[in-house]
């Protein structure tokens, strides 16, 4: 099973692995390689930290308060009942 995963394959599939987009079998195989390989482990840790930082960008662009009112006004004018 995981014996087929070498460093090259682990790095090729790293994003799919971190995004949980691999099959269950391949998830296990790549995880085992990353846990055991001292060369790949820091790269995987870095990539995971990078994705975590990206996910925090959700909070960085708050919607202006006035926009909700503006959208609702537009919808009311288009026929949405208040």
């Amino acid at each position: 099973m995981h014996k087929g995963v070498d460093c090259r394959l682990a790095m090729t599939q790293l994003w799919d692995f971190l995004d949980q987009e691999l099959t269950e079998e391949n998830m296990v195989a790549v995880r085992i390689h990353l846990e055991q390989c001292s060369a790949c482990h820091p790269h995987a840790a870095f990539a995971q930290q990078f994705l975590t930082a990206l996910s925090r960008c959700r909070c960085a662009d708050p919607m202006p308060e006035t926009l909700r009112t503006r959208v609702l006004d537009t919808l009311r004018n288009a026929g949405l009942m208040s």
């Binding site: 799919d16 995004d19 790269h43 870095f46 994705l51 990206l54 960008c57 919607m63 959208v71 949405l80």
Partner: protein, 201 residues
């Protein structure tokens, strides 16, 4: 004869409120990532909701309203681009393993990784996302910021899953390069030695 838009009955209005209006923050964030301009993003949100309202009866109850809104927003954005005759590059490229290994090795050894664990990077990364070119920016925003799966992002972008994957690969690579530059400027990473030319004189 019909005379323009008809008022939407209350039960439908409640559905629209619950299913659609609740996602306005997410739609705005996505609109910001597309337009990179607050004023244009607000216009795009307004247009998205107007289109959503007008086609509300085509929405399948129980389906993903946020994805539906993202699709409407993106289509509205692309129509605007066509009007402005902007060209959108669709060069996706392919992931390559050896390049990825060398890339990661460089980032880890030059100290960029320290930045991730020690600094709130949301403002810098938001700025970096804004500097990504399409079509990479939309893929990164949908998957990495909005948490969509590859399949969901593919549906919004109307491309195969493999295309989402390769756009993510390229977009993330570009973001990491920008991050490395930021790390060097912030003193977290060593400046890379300039490449030597063929002439030492």
């Amino acid at each position: 004869m019909e005379s323009g838009s008809q008022p939407v009955p209350s039960p439908v209005r409640e559905d629209f409120d619950r299913e659609v209006l609740a996602w306005m923050d997410d739609v705005y964030r996505f609109a910001m990532s597309l337009t990179r301009d607050a004023s244009k993003a607000e216009d795009l949100v307004q247009e998205t909701y107007l289109r959503a309202f007008r086609s509300w009866q085509t929405f399948q109850p129980g389906s993903d309203a946020r994805r539906w809104l993202f699709t409407i927003a993106r289509n509205a954005f692309l129509r605007g681009l066509e009007r402005e005759r902007h060209h959108v590059s669709l060069d996706d490229g392919d992931p390559d393993a050896l390049g990825a290994i060398q890339h990661y090795a460089g980032l880890v050894t030059d100290g960029t990784d320290q930045l991730l664990s020690r600094v709130d990077l949301a403002p810098a990364l938001t700025d970096a996302i804004g500097r990504l070119n399409e079509p990479f920016r939309s893929a990164v925003v949908l998957v990495d910021v909005e948490g969509q799966s590859y399949e969901e992002a593919a549906a919004v972008l109307e491309v195969p899953i493999g295309t989402v994957r390769s756009r993510l690969f390229r977009g993330r690579r570009q973001l990491q390069e920008m991050l490395a530059e930021y790390a060097r400027d912030a003193g977290f990473a060593a400046a890379r030695a300039p490449e030597r030319g063929g002439d030492d004189a």
